[in-house]
Symmetry: C2
Subunit: 144 residues, 2 copies
DNA sequence: TTAAATCATACTAAAAAGGTAGGAAATAAA
DNA sequence: TTTATTTCCTACCTTTTTAGTATGATTTAA
């Protein structure tokens, strides 16, 4: 039931980029330094974010990373999915996994499916912008 | 974000006891057999349930396990907590853990705290009875 | 007395999480 | 065109957690 450091760090890295963007791309070294994450580990998390098209990278001397869209267009659902993997509480809910032979008789399946729907809706309802700066979410509640 | 087999199996074992209770205690061998869980692993999960006072055990020749209260008095929250451990998505929300030094500045803390509240409320709202037999939850929705 | 059950402790193997190393490729600036 | 700085890529290592097993003691109804 715990979220891993990849998900937590990935989110913090996204917030970091959002808060420090100022024209040019931001180097990973700066991000890792500010967030207290080792450069190498941050690099592996950043690759997941790039692959999911959540950040754009540029190489070379003045290279670095920047967001690929406005902060209010990101949901935590997509950020967490990119870094953590899918959000299914149990594998048998995933349609890419082999179907559980006990599925029809399973008394708990609907309960897990409902649980998944609730947490997915929650993360989908929160935008990255609501965690950046002195946003309303941080200040006093769930806002966009 | 995944729930472990201890939590899933533990819940199934509780459902199994509820559905097969018929005067005498139910032997672990029968439960493990029906649920397709190895006897030894089931034993270690059952110990967690006993320690949490969710089931009563009796030893000796006709011994076994039975529920310690009516099925509608159990919530999934207590069953999952007993088998999985706490339901915190991140350790720093737990008051038994050392306080995170970045806590005051953390942009994500409130979001995680709200998330915890939502999942805890969800599991607290579902009773064991709603997963037993042809209950309303299983049939068509969230019921007690 | 004995067979059948739980209780208790310790151990092991496999998987996942967390993190590192080294170098290739790109690119802006000197 | 060279060089310094950056991301990209593959592979690897270590630690922790999960999952499961082994062995034997204790309890108790028949």
């Amino acid at each position: 039931m715990k979220i891993s450091t990849r998900g937590r760090y990935g989110l913090r890295m996204m917030i970091d980029i959002a808060e420090h963007f100022d024209d040019g791309p931001i180097s990973l070294e700066a991000i890792a330094e500010r967030q207290g994450i080792s450069f190498k580990y941050a690099e592996s998390i950043m690759r997941s974010l790039v692959k999911a098209n959540l950040v754009k990278s540029s190489r070379g001397k003045t290279g670095g990373y920047c967001l690929s869209k406005k902060t209010n267009k990101y949901t935590l659902e997509e950020i967490l999915t990119a870094t953590e993997g899918d959000l299914y509480p149990i594998d048998c809910l995933s349609c890419t996994k082999p179907v559980c032979p006990k599925q029809d008789k399973c008394k708990a399946r609907k309960m897990w499916a409902d649980y998944y729907r609730i947490i997915k809706d929650y993360f989908s309802s929160i935008s990255l912008s609501s965690l950046v700066g002195n946003s309303s979410f941080y200040e006093d509640g769930l806002g966009i």
